[in-house]
Symmetry: C2
Subunit: 360 residues, 2 copies
């Protein structure tokens, strides 16, 4: 065998055998250092990645969208204009989605906090005394008023359960802890009028992070916990910590990157508070005593690590925690087209999970 072939092969064999070359082959650090070069960062060359052939045509169309790096607003006035522009778009979309699902949407106040009660037109006896609390996404800045109800409507449609969507306060006017104060006040009021065993909490992205933070805060305040939670691709770490923030940068065509918009949103929400405070980044909090938890993410998700890290912490705490990872999906793309097979699968899975864990 030619010498250069042999040299290449040593690596080849080692890797195929799951024994990266130099991993203590002789049990000594010296051997390791001699044979195994290491690096503090890995240089990944430019490459072209195809739209995967392993997803539905509906999802393939979503994955094929060219990512565009967002900019971030700088002034409070710019943030408000941006939020308003997005809300207008969302409301158009919500109007279309409401036609797909037979639900009514009614504004109301719970503990003084504005909310929307989303009620399936046909409410089964089994679901009559059940309630799902929804915390919307949008980086703690976007999704005010009815514009934040999209996921709640889809979930009510798939689960056949009532959904209470919380229109929590947001910056620039109301930074942390306003959003969590509102979510906690609503949850506390609900536990006083409904059976906690008949209730679940869910939300995606920021709403997923808030779902986790809400359980931790409810535990702190000795409130009853929900019977189950379903955080979708939760923003569990507001700092740029977690491997997929780096590996999936630009691969994820929904969030694209941490800088500049996620970073700016995190700062706007946190104000002077440390981003690693567990009340803001619940991955740093305790997961002991959590109710059954269903986590959803995708292989291209910028928040894959935000999701996986929470899953591992839940499992380490002995919690009944399930992880669902969808092939090729970027951040929260199960929300983009609720009629795509993968979206139906995700929502039906969560609905079945709630049905299995909620009392009647």
């Amino acid at each position: 065998m030619h010498r250069s072939v042999r040299a290449g092969l040593r690596w080849a064999l080692a890797t195929l055998l799951c024994i990266p070359w130099g991993v203590n082959p002789h049990g000594t650090a010296r051997a390791q250092n001699r044979t195994s070069p290491t690096e503090t960062t890995r240089a990944i060359p430019a490459r072209n990645i195809p739209v995967p052939a392993t997803v539905s045509p509906e999802l393939a169309r979503i994955i094929a969208r060219t990512p565009m790096h967002p900019t971030a607003p700088r002034t409070a006035q710019d943030w408000k204009a941006a939020v308003q522009a997005a809300a207008t778009m969302d409301l158009q979309r919500i109007t279309a989605v409401r036609k797909q699902f037979a639900v009514t949407v009614e504004p109301l106040r719970v503990a003084g906090v504005p909310c929307f009660m989303i009620t399936p037109v046909r409410l089964s006896d089994r679901n009559r005394h059940r309630l799902l609390m929804h915390l919307h996404g949008g980086g703690y800045v976007f999704g005010p008023g009815e514009s934040g109800t999209l996921e709640g409507i889809i979930m009510a449609g798939f689960s056949g359960m009532k959904v209470l969507s919380v229109d929590y306060r947001m910056p620039p006017e109301h930074p942390y802890p306003a959003a969590m104060d509102d979510a906690t006040a609503v949850w506390k009021a609900l536990t006083q009028r409904e059976q906690p065993a008949n209730m679940a909490v869910f939300g995606t992205s920021t709403g997923g992070g808030m779902t986790l933070a809400l359980v931790q805060r409810a535990r702190e305040e000795k409130l009853p916990l929900p019977a189950a939670i379903a955080p979708g691709t939760p923003w569990s770490d507001l700092t740029k910590t977690g491997d997929s923030y780096f590996v999936n940068e630009g691969v994820d065509n929904a969030l694209v990157a941490y800088e500049p918009l996620l970073s700016a949103s995190a700062r706007l929400y946190a104000g002077a508070v440390d981003l690693e405070d567990p009340h803001l980044s619940p991955v740093y909090g305790s997961f002991s005593g959590f109710p059954p938890t269903l986590l959803t993410t995708g292989t291209r998700d910028l928040f894959l690590s935000n999701t996986v890290r929470v899953h591992r912490k839940l499992r380490e705490a002995g919690v009944d925690a399930r992880l669902e990872v969808y092939e090729g999906q970027s951040h929260a793309q199960y929300l983009v087209d609720p009629t795509a097979p993968e979206s139906r699968e995700a929502f039906e899975d969560i609905a079945g999970f709630f049905d299995a864990h909620l009392g009647t």
Copy 2:
């Protein structure tokens, strides 16, 4: 707001709100086409990814190893030399690992197939009548004889259960279906002498793919099924199909890339048979009636999609299937250092899963 800021913002809002710009904002394909550029491949620029701060120091050292692109042997003689060289390294490592775990290793034949029985020195009453069947990894080419027993030894150590590691035939001499014929013959013989309800099957990489293919084949041949299986990052698709083959190329420092070595191994094993034949690529087979299944992978794993796709198919078939994804890990890195916290976690998790599902 300045016009260019506004243009950037439209995307920003849309993405943060989980509504990629142009996803049917007005419910028409025309609007979609007008506003949303698409692409058949995504150009990802060169970048540097740091070693994640979210893993143990032991795992960080493994992740920090510089990936080296392997070469592939060309002749049967070169393959044999490569396999022999790797086996020598593996046996050194196995000698070290055997000192960490109090097990005995005995060669024996089952149905004429050479195997190794790995027995914990202290075998509890609870585990006395239980048996785990192990199918080793190595791309269907590497890991002959005792050099394939590493994972079996580690699993016997963590689970306290007996492990039968199968030394199945491999190419160049014995291409498909020899390996699966051997695995099936051993399983059939075991079911005739032991309670199938007390047995599980596991393996990593190629061993994970074989575990899946074995259940499908046992079902075809009307053999009893194991009580549980744990395929680790299974090579479920021998073709370069699945998103992580592309996204994690070069990010994964264990397998690195499909070309040239995985490709060559697949061809060597398949001979004239189609790589998409479900007997070779079990992701294309049926998963109905599968026993409880625990799948393990990592966020940087070249086989993340191989694992995730199988998990989704199992869930769609109504199987009790659990997915565990480890932060920052490349392919099968839980095997590299069994004393790393993440390795202990993975093996203890699988051991607990077997303990919960196997009869006594």
